[in-house]
Every structure is written in structure tokens, then in C-alpha cells.
Symmetry: C2
Subunit: 323 residues, 2 copies
């Protein structure tokens, strides 16, 4: 695996010294909040990074926004391959996606639509959290793990598994969906159709919704504002993080019990408030991680931040056999 | 993989036609309720099957009972290899076990103790539910699955994963512990140190305890009696199954979301009341399996029954590379 980290001497083995330049790949990151794209060089440099909010609207409104982001990133160049990381769930065999937080995309054939837009290069499709997990395992906070869950805690809560040094994404490409594991039998209904899922407690919108419902007020209420108020000692904001962390810890402990994890890497918008997130998360893990092998799991923030999804999508475009 | 199913023409490829007899292996199955051992021929026949209740008592009391079961199964023969399936958790690297439901065994070196008892042959150690999952995947209700969880619902609730045709038991050998996934954040404390684990709702003793606490009476209250009364329409017994199945379904849906499962095979004492278990389990799965890829999971009873653990332990003794 080469070409997915910032260039260093050790990271350029994919280049052919003295030969023709190896073309960049296009990496695309599709989430409920933002659409991002970039060209990724074999040495891991990102070029032409473009980003815009995911619009509301029908199927084609969203694809038009994606096409615009892709066009901006491409800047008139061509690529020999592209990789998509997309919010789940998806059907990796059919190349279609049905992101919980993009309601108008249900069975949307994003892989073939992007291939057509680009003029036909091979396009690899993976869950966005799987792409992020690949990047963290190879080059970030997951290095050296033997059983890792990479999580994205943002508009939704997603995840990807790297077990025994290989991506495990399952028969349909959907393994790692920790956001839709049930931690509260009698909990709130979830848009996925279940109830009490981690995502109903721990996503940014879920935290904001709960805080607003419990007396928190803010002129521009969002996850960052909630974190700022928690940092300033607002009791409702603190309680919102406490509640979210109990859901998160129960989900992490469950995943560790099921997959014998040694590491969980948390990225996504909510993880950028790690100073506010970590103390209640550590406390809650003490409550829910019981067995010794579960207690050994270490939970750490992403090292690659917002670029993990793009770097992972590029890694998968370079080497589809990873999954 | 040979020698783990009842003899048929297709199952005897491990035998050497006309050559010296291939020695049997010793298979041992250690659970919170019973200790079992048998010699398993390469063609899968069990000989000398011995079984007795797991005694209460200190470390050596329990090992003495195990030694007695093993001695009865061996009948004076020798073996070239042995396989142990033991209730979890365990440390597969160190060869030690700490079964939740055998309180006096904590870090007990069962692998080396059995090897010493037998005079030194190689001994393979796996979680009992992992052993059962191997047997069901190879020869039972898990055949053809691409992502399977084999469960044991009995004194405890255990599990083993077979993903992409290989046992996945994780870095410490403990993957598959679905009984200690958290499905009820605010639920009862669990002996494992967490709370709201599937095992607090769905094990045989948990079901009986809940029923007794809610007005069920029986001269010999156990899981079989509870199932019989549910079958006869007793409302508290039916409610006990309903509650247990909600916990079980939430755990199964969570495991399916995380591991993209296509099949769950349920064995163990509770599963022998499949007629009583299935209707509320199917109803609860409708509530907790939301996403399409989660809803596709099929949940079926064990085909191999009580022999799965021994057959799987024998399979692992024949081929330790499986895990």
C-alpha cells in the first residue's frame, strides 16, 4: 500500500523512479453533512481539495452537487481510478448507496454514475467509515492494532473494522455499522428502523436535540456550540456529553466483546471536541467494559482528522484488494 | 477439514486407506453446567462420550471432575492431540480460562493442566462457542454462510464468529462474546462487571430468575420447566421468553450491523425449546433489525445440538490453523 500519506522518503515506493509520472486518483467522501473530493498523488499529497455542504433535495440535486465538487477537484485533469467513501449503508456488490442521513438516495447507483461522469475509469466504493479506518490503520492512530474499529462520530455514527491486518467489510460491504448497534432496548426510534441505536444517543444532531429539549439555548445550536458550552461548564451541555458518552461506551464495549478489539479510533466532527468528550467517555467505559479482554481496548482520537476519508478512499482506489 | 462429522463416504478423506489407523483425538467441552469429553475418530464418530455436571467448589475440585470425565472418555487409550472448547473468557495465548460461570477458575491454566494429565500431546484451546460455531459452519446449520455467528444460549450466552470462511477469534481468542454485548444501558449489573448485557436477559438462569421474581412458581424451576409452562400458555413464562427474546434480538441485530452477518445459529439448552423461542424472537427481530443488510440475517437453530462443542473441539485439535 503506497501513496496515501503525506510524502516522506518511505512513502513514495509506489512511484516509478525515472519512469512516467503515476497518475493521481480521485478520492470522494460523501457524508450527510458534506461532500468532498480531491486528487491524491501516489506520494499521498492531496491536490484540488474541494468541499461543500450536502444539499437537501432530490436524488439529482445531490448528485449535481457531487458532480460540481468532483469537477472542482479534477480541474480539467483525468484519472485512471477513483475511490468513493460514502455514508452507509451501501451495497458494495451492486455499487449502490442508501445513506441514512441522505434520505433521497435509496439504492442510488453512485459507483456507476461517478464512473460515467469520469468517462469510465474503475471506481471503488466503500463505506466512508471503512475508508477512514483504512487510513487510520495504515498511517494514523490505528497503526499496530491487531483488531481495530475506526469510528466516525458526526451527523451519523459509522465505523469500519480492520481485523488481522485486513479490512473486514463483510459480504455486502456494510460491516462496522456501530452506529446502528442497539444499546438501549427501550430507547428512541432510530431512522434506520430499529430503536436505541448508538446513533440515537451519540451523533452530533442527537446530542444537540437532547440538549435543546432539556433547556439548553444557543443562537446557533450545533455540535461545536454545545462543546463550547460544555467546556464553559454549562450543566445541560455537560449532561448531553455524559449521555452521549454512555451510549458510545456501551457500543464500544459491545464491539470489543464481539470482535476482541484492541483499539478504537474516533474521528468525525464530534471527536474534534476530544477535551470535552474524553472524560465522560473514560468514566462510561469503566462502567460498561467488564471483562478483562474488553477493558484492554484503547480509545483514541483520529490522527488524520477530516482527511482520513479521502486518504482511505484513495488507498482503496490504489488497491481495491484491501477490501 | 476431516473427521468431524458422522461417517459417510465423503467424510472419510482424513483416513489413510490401507495404512495404519489414524488415532482419535480427545475433545473436551467445559461449560458452567456440564463437563463433557469424548474420543473423536477421524471419520467423526464419537467414542466413550462422558458427561457430568460441573461441580461447585474450588479450582481443584473442578479440575478433578474434569480429569474424571476425561479418564472415563479415554478408557485407557492414548491420543496424539486434544482440543478444548471452554466457556469464556479465556486467554488463547497463555492457555488460561476465566469462565464467567465457573467463579473459582480465574486465569486457570487448563491447556497445560490437560496436556500434563495426558502426558504431553498438543492441546488446542478455544472458546466453547467458537468450537460450536466451527462445527455448525462445517457440518451443521452454518453451511454456506459467508458471515456467521454461532451462539450458545444456556447457563451463559456465548458465541463464535466464522467470517469469510475462517474462524475469527481475535487477538486474545475472545471474539464472539455476544453474551456480554450491552443492549440495555440502564439494565441489571452483570457478573462480567458491565450491565445490561444480553446474558442478563437471555441466559436460562436469567429467564428463570425473572419469572420467579414475577410470580411464576414451579417445584423444580429451570429452563426446561419454564419452556414447558410457556408452551402450556402460562402468561409469566411467556413474558419471560418475550423479554429474553428482546435482549437476544437486540444483540443479534447489533452483531449483524457490526459484522454484516448473514446467519446466526443458536445452540445450547435454551435453543432446545425452539418452538417457544422462535415466535417472540421473530417478532423482536422485526423491531430491532432496521437496515436492509441487517434484516437479511437468518436465525436458525443448531443442527448438531449438544455434540457441536465436542465436534468443534475435535476439528480444532485436528487442524489448529483454523483459528
Amino acid at each position: 500500500m503506497t501513496g496515501v500519506v503525506p510524502a516522506t522518503a518511505a512513502d513514495t515506493t509506489g512511484a516509478v523512479p525515472g519512469g512516467p509520472p503515476v497518475p493521481a486518483v480521485l478520492a470522494v467522501d460523501i457524508g450527510g453533512t458534506k461532500l468532498a473530493a480531491a486528487l491524491v498523488e501516489p506520494d499521498g499529497r492531496l491536490r484540488g481539495r474541494a468541499i461543500r455542504p450536502t444539499p437537501a433535495g432530490d436524488t439529482e440535486t445531490i448528485f449535481a452537487a457531487l458532480a460540481a465538487v468532483v469537477g472542482e477537484a479534477m480541474g480539467g485533469e483525468t484519472v485512471t481510478a477513483a475511490g468513493i467513501g460514502c455514508a452507509g449503508p451501501l451495497d458494495a456488490v451492486a455499487g449502490t448507496v442508501s445513506p441514512v442521513n441522505i434520505p433521497s438516495w435509496r439504492g442510488f447507483p453512485v459507483r456507476d454514475r461517478l464512473a460515467a461522469l469520469l468517462g469510465g475509469p474503475p471506481v471503488t466504493l466503500a463505506n466512508d467509515a471503512v475508508a477512514g479506518a483504512v487510513a487510520e490503520y495504515r498511517h494514523g492512530a490505528g497503526r499496530g492494532s491487531r483488531a481495530m474499529l475506526g469510528m466516525v462520530v458526526s451527523t451519523g455514527v459509522g465505523g469500519g473494522l480492520v481485523l488481522d491486518g485486513r479490512v473486514y467489510d463483510g459480504p455486502t460491504g456494510n460491516a462496522g455499522h456501530i452506529g446502528h448497534t442497539v444499546v438501549d432496548l427501550g430507547g428512541e426510534p432510530c431512522p434506520c428502523g430499529s430503536r436505541g441505536c448508538v446513533e440515537t444517543l451519540t451523533s452530533g444532531p442527537a446530542m444537540v436535540r437532547w440538549a435543546l429539549g432539556n433547556g439548553w439555548t444557543h443562537p446557533a445550536p450545533d455540535g461545536a456550540a454545545l462543546a463550547a458550552d460544555a467546556r464553559a461548564g454549562d450543566p445541560v451541555a455537560l449532561a448531553a456529553f455524559e449521555r452521549a458518552c454512555r451510549g458510545l461506551a456501551a457500543g464500544i464495549a459491545s464491539a470489543a466483546a464481539l470482535c476482541d478489539l484492541d483499539r478504537v479510533v474516533i474521528g468525525g466532527g464530534v471527536s474534534r471536541s476530544w477535551d470535552v468528550l474524553e472524560p465522560p467517555l473514560v468514566r462510561a467505559l469503566r462502567d460498561y467494559a467488564g471483562l478483562a479482554f474488553v477493558r484492554r481496548v484503547t480509545v483514541v482520537p483520529s490522527e488524520l482528522g477530516a482527511e482520513a476519508g479521502l486518504l482511505g478512499a484513495a488507498a482503496l482506489a490504489h488497491d481495491p484488494e484491501l477490501v
